[in-house]
Amino acid sequence: MELRRPPDAQHAVAALGNGSLALAGGTDLVPLLRDGIVRADTLVHLADAVPRGIDGTRIGAGTTLAELEVDPQVPAALREACAQAASPQLRSMGTIGGNLRQATRCWYWRLRFPCWLHGGEVCHAKAGQHREHAIFGNERCASAHPSDPAAALLALGARVRTDRRELSVAELYRLPTDESRDVVVLAPDELVLELDVPLPDASVYLKAMDRKKWAFPLVGVAAARFGDRVAFGLAGVAPIPWAVDSADDLDRATPLPGTAYKVQIARALIARAFSAL
């Protein structure tokens, strides 16, 4: 395997595709390579290709979660979501760009079961254990998107700039389909360069997890208030970060037998996030 470190975004994009993958902090990608879940001939290190740092509302995709969680320019919901993600070691390596593109934690997928998301026919989680899985958008794949920051960015209405276009975080994600079993609309050689995160009047992130710290979200709820409008972004409830307008949207949830509890958690957390704003 080859490791390359192109000097800028343009060279990085040119080096991507055809069996080469982008490497940022490597906290998700390296274990996936180690376990043989993804394969690459070449790794394209993004250290010089993707901006890093925070300037007002603009955040370089190479900024680490550790940098985001302490910067006062960053809205509270994003700061808190970063602070509650993973562990200190992982946060000082892991970048926000990599976090948005992290792969599912569904253990069937990670154990290389030939499930639907891997291109197979069935979702093993639905038939088997799925306590951590989805309550929305789970018709095909019931995985639960693990990113805390993505939920916060969704609630905050953040925008994403790639090497070729600009789009909202809401547009960045889409449910996987039979044709394309990916959760983002990006091309294989497309790089996330920067985020633009509007400043809300108030925002918060609440995260229910299996222990007091250092665990993926069972349900994460980000809430952001802009004037009299409140937006919510949820982590851990659908294959992608999930936006809701209010707790009433939970009436449309389609939980699996083992995930019904998540509806109740989400309902309670939305109410609590709202009252915290």
């Binding site: 918060v204 609440l206 007091k212 665990a215 109740q264 957390l269 609590r272």
Partner: protein, 738 residues
């Protein structure tokens, strides 16, 4: 000018002496078994079954052998001696032939210059499997094809149970099992599979001695029993295999069975090079046995004023694919099924079955954890039914010396059940903290999920007990050797495994006390210079090592008195002899089946966010029967660590399986408690010296684990009003109460 440093008097028995391994462990200088290194060493790698149950059609190693850096690729055909080994029954293939019976079972071993070369070569071993239907439901195992048609555990004095796939079944019948009380409560309880979750993965280094023998440096719990399993498989005499203890990163029962020992030695002898094997985390989850998952049906009958009349319990343990120590776990679960309570009439049936689930064996608490979870839930239920205070109910039934257990064994040593209950109940329960609070001090922790909304508080109580030492007629002994040198110094040899529990200090404190000197050293634990110490398990090592070292020291002093010169003596210490249970009635056939007992009581304050199902254990107070504390600080450490392990089982720890495959084999998915999940523990050491034991000591490692899961569940039930019959507790049972 220099001033000589003031020489501290090092700790004697009864003092909180600082542990010799404490500072190096904290500073990272401690050498664990995975740090072992030898010039020219190769790296071993194990090829494991991806199936829970399959027939092996063929194994082709040619491609792997041709890979760069590869020195050996070995299969069962390369095992020169016995093809099977086992801790108690020789039922487990060194390398699988014909069949694999569990996910992760070793089939082939590889040695290469570099670990990555070994890993790549392992990937190129071609094994053709014919998958078979796995037995995964323990409740149906006795109706399915036998996994071990030769029934390796039968004919060892156990009850003859003709059903297929029974590892052992034990029935204890006492008095009139049909005796009726005024009230009866019943319940069904379940426990998931818990992992020992030690931080140091299985690892070791095997070094050929150039004369056909081998030295193995490994993290283990019992050096001599390792040797006695390794040597026959290699076709060697015991003295040709020397096992040396390498730094142990936690054990908790998970290192009682062999892991890399035979494989490493095979590769080393085959290549004539030192071979190191270190499991990765995922491999470690299949590289050792786990705590038995269990299902327990219980019925308690009592009089109106709360005296137990009759207890009926049925226990089903899933032993997984091989016997390991399941037969002893089966009898322990039965022995302690009724709890530390006096009851005239009882019927206890305990059965362990083979399945294709992960193999289970020893883990801290050893059958008593499962039973305690059930009997304490039952006692709370009974208290509620009778409207008697749960602590009072326990006091009314507390076992005491002189009483008999359902096995007919009379308690001849100490067992201060009522005392630990009272001392624990006296500990002041902390007041509820004011709101607002730091989220870390609320259920949900760092997730900031509540500012007090939905939070309810509960207080729980539990009592448990367990045996100390090996039981049922096992010849349990410990050897120590003491050399008194001409310069007045002394050297102590004892192969007791320091697994982090502090036995090295026990040995040193004992020797300093007996020889009345600080000028002594403890030699490395090895099979090459001293006899067996027995296992660092069953809460026995302190008792046994103190007994052996004390005897050897006293004998050495007497010898020097007589001869005047240097002396070198070895002594073997045995605890009081035990005898087996009657296979039909489960009654003792002699004075005792278990050597001695230790009990603990625990009180827990918990808060539950009942809308979210999130919990916080706020405070734990405990009183434990310790006989006599050799090192009080180390005893408190054992209580805190043991409690944390029980907390993990109560709240989060479970090995998940599907079709026999482990699905969460990582510390990302198998969660263990962090310091934030663990509350402060206030412990009272109840010292009531055990008459038969050296200095009156008892083991202390297991009782806190036995009782803490039960006590935490009691508190959660109090907070939620739910039955909570399964651990780890699931959200479904708690969430959305309002």
């Amino acid at each position: 000018m220099t001033v000589p440093a003031e020489k501290l008097r090092l700790g004697r028995v009864g003092e909180s002496a600082r542990r010799t391994d404490a500072v190096p462990k904290v500073t990272g200088e401690f050498a664990y078994s995975s740090d072992a290194y030898a010039a020219g060493m190769l790296w071993g790698r194990t090829v494991r079954s991806p199936h829970a149950h399959a027939r092996i059609r063929s194994i082709d190693v040619s491609e792997a052998l041709a890979m760069p850096g590869v020195h050996a690729v070995l299969t069962h055909e390369d095992v020169p001696g016995e093809k099977r080994y086992g801790l108690e029954f020789r039922d487990q293939p060194v390398l699988a032939f014909d069949r694999v019976r569990y996910f992760g079972e070793p089939v082939v071993v590889v040695a290469a210059e570099h670990p990555e070369q070994a890993r790549r070569a392992a990937d190129r071993v071609r094994i053709e499997y014919e998958p078979l239907e796995p037995i995964v439901d323990p409740e149906r195992a006795t109706e399915q094809e036998p996994l071990h048609p030769d029934r390796p555990t039968m004919g060892h004095g156990y009850r003859d149970d003709p059903r297929p796939n029974v590892v052992r079944s034990l029935v204890i019948r006492r008095g009139d099992p049909d005796a009726r009380g005024d009230v009866s409560v019943s319940g069904v309880y379940e426990l998931g599979i818990q992992d020992q979750a030690f931080l140091g993965p299985e690892s070791g280094l095997a070094v050929p001695d150039g004369e056909g023998g081998v030295d193995v440096y490994v993290a283990t719990q019992w050096l001599h029993v390792d040797r006695d399993q390794v040597a026959p498989c290699l076709g060697l005499r015991p003295e040709q295999v020397r096992i040396h203890l390498a730094g142990v990163g936690g054990a908790f029962g998970g290192r009682e069975d062999l892991s890399m020992q035979i494989h490493g030695a095979l590769l080393a002898l085959h290549t004539n090079r030192p071979v190191k094997i270190v499991y990765d985390r995922q491999e470690s989850f299949v590289g050792h046995i786990h705590r038995h998952p269990a299902k327990i049906w219980a019925e308690h009958r009592a009089t109106r004023d709360g005296k137990l009349v009759c207890i009926r319990v049925r226990i089903l343990l899933d032993g997984g694919a091989y016997a390991s120590s399941s037969t002893a776990v089966t009898s322990n679960a039965a022995s302690f099924a009724c709890g530390p309570y006096a009851v005239e009439n009882a019927l206890v049936e305990s059965t362990c079955v083979y399945t294709n689930n992960p193999p289970c064996g020893a883990m801290r608490g050893f059958g008593a954890v499962q039973s305690c979870f059930a009997h304490e839930a039952q006692m709370d239920k009974l208290a509620a039914a009778l409207r008697i205070d749960p602590i009072e109910l326990r006091l009314r039934n507390a076992l005491a010396p002189g009483d008999s257990l359902p096995t007919g064994q009379r308690i001849t040593g100490t067992l201060p059940v009522a005392d630990v209950i009272r001392r624990c109940a006296e500990l002041p329960v902390p007041e509820a903290e004011e709101l607002p609070r730091d989220p870390i001090r609320l259920p949900g922790g760092a997730g900031n999920t509540t500012r007090g909304e939905g939070v309810r508080r509960g207080v729980g109580f539990a009592v448990g007990f367990k045996n100390i030492g090996y039981s049922e007629g096992f010849d349990d002994y410990c050897t120590a050797r003491v050399r008194l040198l001409a310069d007045g110094s002394a050297e102590v040899h004892c192969a007791a495994a320091e697994v982090g529990q502090g036995v090295a200090n026990v040995i040193l404190q004992t020797a300093r006390t007996e020889l009345d000197t600080d000028d002594l050293v403890l030699a490395p634990a090895t099979t090459s210079s001293v006899g067996s110490a027995g296992s660092a398990s069953a809460s026995r090592m302190t008792w046994m090592a103190a007994g052996a070292v004390r005897e050897a020291c006293r004998a050495a002093l007497a010898e020097r008195e007589r001869t005047g010169g240097e002396v070198d003596v070895e002594r073997v210490y045995r605890h009081p002899r035990t005898t087996p249970f009657d296979p039909e009635t489960g009654q003792v056939t002699g004075e005792r089946a278990h050597v001695a007992y230790a009990c603990a009581a625990m009180r827990v304050v918990a808060e539950v966010d009942v809308e979210l199902g999130l919990t916080r254990v706020v405070w734990i107070g405990t009183a434990q029967d310790v006989g006599r504390a050799v090192n009080p600080q180390a005893v408190e450490g054992q209580i805190e660590g043991g409690t944390a392990q029980g907390l993990g089982l109560a709240l989060m720890e479970e090995v998940q399986t599907r079709g026999g495959l482990i699905t969460n084999a990582s510390f990302t998915d198998y969660l263990v408690p962090t310091t934030l999940d663990m509350p402060p523990v206030e412990s009272v050491l109840v010292e009531d010296p055990e008459p038969d034991a050296p200095y009156g000591v008892k083991g202390v490692g297991e009782p806190p684990t036995v009782v803490s899961t039960a006590a935490i569940l009691s508190a959660l039930r109090d907070a939620t009003g739910r039955e909570l019959t399964r651990v780890p507790v699931s959200f479904d049972e708690v969430v959305g109460l309002d």
